[in-house]
């Protein structure tokens, strides 16, 4: 799902955009529940079109660019001398001959410079390719939760905390929403909440329950949301298994996408409890590990969140914080 980068729609007198959009959202929820709008079809449509999107072609572009530079490196001083006007061609030929000593001198230096530059570019390209290959070996495994079994964490203990902090006006995102248990509680409490979840069966279950749930990666989804768009954000699941750079990125995105003063609730599994509570497959394949609540608090404060409070709930902790107003 993409989000608007502009204002969410001015409404003039006589036409209430918000009212109609609320009706449309209800219609979508009804149709989803009836199976008319299966999220799996939306995913399939994306995949079908993606097959036609040209693969990244940076290296080939570079090669082509170098080839083009190579072709242009030779400076030809043999200026065309033909002319339709009588006598002009002869004048041009005389001028070319007369200036040849001068132009050849400049052209030789220019060609030498251009050739050396192209050679340097080729060398740079080869070295860059080597670096890219080495980086590919070092890159952490991709966190493709969609490939793993559909297991949702139990967040029931944190419902009241979320409802206490989250506003009932403005859009609130829960990422990852799993099968939608917490999302359902938020919606029932009057919060305008939607969710994203990368695991197909879970998001299908949430959507089948009439919830607005999207099949998407939390980090990618947040990247696409307009700055300051969210009135609240709940993060869970993904925070436990992302690699550290992606965990930091998630917090940066949360700070950017929340409206000033909007709350963030981060529900994290304790590192010790993680290997006990989470299936071995998920633990072994995860590119990262959970962080301690104090570490999350440190990262949140580093991203300039205020009112950071951690609450212990046994195997999980919840941190509440606010984006500065």
């Amino acid at each position: 799902m993409s989000e608007a980068t502009g204002p969410s729609g001015p409404s003039g007198p006589g036409f209430d955009n918000e009212r109609v959009m609320a009706e449309i959202r209800d219609e979508v929820a009804r149709r989803r529940a009836a199976g008319d709008f299966p999220p799996s079809l939306e995913r399939e449509l994306d995949l079908v079109f993606d097959r036609y999107v040209p693969a990244g072609s940076v290296s080939s572009d570079f090669t082509e660019a170098v080839k083009a530079a190579d072709r242009a490196a030779y400076i030809n001083v043999a200026v065309p001398t033909e002319s339709q006007k009588p006598g002009v061609g002869e004048v041009k030929r005389v001028l070319r001959k007369a200036m040849a000593w001068y132009l050849n001198y400049l052209a030789q230096q220019t060609t030498a410079f251009a050739t050396a530059s192209v050679r340097a570019m080729r060398s740079l390209g080869e070295r860059l390719e080597m670096v890219e290959e080495q980086l590919a070996d070092l890159a952490p495994a991709r966190d493709d939760a969609a490939d793993r079994p559909a297991v949702a964490a139990d967040l029931g203990g944190w419902v009241s905390l979320c409802i206490r902090h989250l506003p009932t006006r403005g859009r609130v995102l829960h990422a990852e929403c799993g099968s939608g248990a917490l999302l359902r509680s938020l919606v029932d409490a009057g919060v305008d909440a939607y969710g994203v979840e990368p695991r197909g069966p879970l998001v299908d279950a949430a959507a089948a329950g009439g919830l607005e749930a999207w099949p998407d990666d939390p980090v990618e989804h947040l990247s696409a949301v307009a700055d300051g768009y969210l009135a609240g954000l709940v993060l869970s699941g993904c925070v436990d298994r992302l690699a550290l750079p992606r965990q930091r990125r998630l917090i940066e995105l949360a700070a950017a996408k929340l409206a000033p003063g909007a709350p963030l609730i981060l529900i994290a599994t304790h590192p010790d409890a993680w290997s006990r509570a989470v299936p071995a497959l998920e633990v072994d394949l995860a590119p990262g590990r959970p962080l301690h609540p104090t570490t999350w608090a440190h990262l949140l404060e580093g991203a300039r969140f205020t009112d950071v409070v951690a609450q212990d709930g046994g195997d999980t902790s919840a941190l509440s914080a606010r984006r500065p107003g």
Binding site: M1, A4, G12, G14
Partner: protein, 378 residues
């Protein structure tokens, strides 16, 4: 021979010394919003008593005589000011930059190159070139003109000192529309067999996201109207993107339901507006979007994704979507097409919004924006 002399920075002539305002744009093409705007601006300038000619790199044969090649512009045009219409990279930018006359840059937006890099590097390079030229012209420009606040903000970010918003000059009078009867008859015959007609008008380009319209059509046909059609009107910006759309349409078995038309005359295009049930715009990037205004002119309800300058152009004249998932778009189309009261409400809202684009008012704004150069107010 008079020696060339540059006026001092910022190239502003004494008010009242300008008697001619000449316009430069890379290509004068029929049906192109930038060309239509330029021709209307010329009319406004001439009506205000200025000499005004249009100079281009390329002129479509249908517009022969409306413009001249820029090489015909005199080496020294005393008492002239220049308006350069910037929407792509062009040698004309370098040309006007080197001229001594006061310069106005009328910015019609550049699609970010990132939209094209995967599809066509030559197009990506052309828009990157244009953006570099937009920066280059800052120091040389007496006035930055933009057809939306969105575009104006881009100019301000680049440090254009004096800027103004003048809506694109379009004839929005519904009474003056000429509709091609043959096209109208053909489209009406299609319609007689049933099915909702969704319309999109604009170049086939990645930033216009025509694939999202096709996805929405799939959902709409599945849930509401199996006979629904999508009509895409516009020239391809890149062959590779059009090939992808063709393949996508074919894979989904929608060859009969999705049609792509390009090279239409104004009257043929009018027939498309007249027979459609709704205009749907799901673009990721728009600096203004003329078809939104055209749809209002043809009393066609509009559904648009709220990106970039779309909310500003549409105002309250249509339904703005905060997201464009296929389900949301399908439900929105159903809501608008299936509810005559809402449809009428949107058409009325569109008609009200049209007042903002009244051609005579916009012409006055265009001419008056130049008052500090010309001393003329209309």
């Amino acid at each position: 021979m008079t020696a060339l002399r540059r006026p001092p920075d910022p190239y502003v002539a004494d008010a009242g010394s300008v008697r001619a305002v000449h316009q430069f744009l890379p290509a004068l093409m029929p049906g192109d919003a930038c060309g239509i705007h330029t021709l209307a601006a010329q009319e406004a300038l001439r009506e205000a008593g200025f000499e005004s000619e249009i100079f281009c790199e390329a002129i479509h044969h249908e517009l022969d005589g409306k413009g001249r090649h820029f090489s015909e512009f005199p080496a020294w045009a005393a008492g002239s000011a220049l308006v350069y219409h910037l929407a792509t990279g062009s040698v004309l930018a370098d040309y006007v930059n080197a001229r001594p006359e006061p310069l106005v840059v009328d910015y019609h937006n550049l699609t970010p190159a990132s939209f094209f890099r995967r599809w066509d590097m030559s197009v990506a390079n052309a828009v990157s070139w244009g953006r570099a030229q937009l920066s280059m012209l800052v120091a040389r420009t007496a006035l930055g003109m933009a057809d939306s606040t969105y575009n104006e903000l881009e100019m301000i970010e680049l440090d254009y000192r004096r800027t103004v918003v003048v809506p694109i000059l379009l004839d929005v009078d519904a009474e003056t529309v000429d509709v091609d009867p043959a096209t109208l008859a053909r489209l009406q015959a299609d319609k007689a067999g049933g099915g909702t007609d969704l319309l999109f008008v604009g170049r086939l380009a990645p930033n216009k996201a025509q694939e999202d319209l096709i996805k929405a059509l799939v959902m709409y046909r599945r849930a509401y109207d199996p006979l629904a059609r999508l009509r895409l009107v516009g020239r391809p910006a890149t062959d590779s993107y059009q090939a992808a759309l063709d393949g996508f349409i074919s894979d989904l078995g929608l060859d009969q339901a999705v049609t792509i038309a390009s090279g239409l005359s104004d009257s043929q295009l009018a027939a498309y507006y007249r027979t459609a049930d709704v205009l749907v715009v799901l673009s990721e990037h728009e600096g203004f979007n003329t078809p939104l205004v055209e749809a209002m002119r043809h009393r066609l309800p509009v559904i648009a994704y709220a990106s970039c300058a779309v909310p500003e152009t549409l105002g309250s004249g249509g339904l703005l979507l905060p997201d464009k998932s296929p389900s949301t778009v399908a439900a929105a189309v159903h809501r608008v097409v299936g509810d005559p009261a809402l449809r009428d409400e949107l058409v009325r809202a569109g008609s009200d919004r049209l007042a903002h684009f009244d051609l005579n008012a916009s012409k006055r704004r265009f001419v008056n924006a130049l008052t500090f150069l010309t001393g003329v107010t209309v």
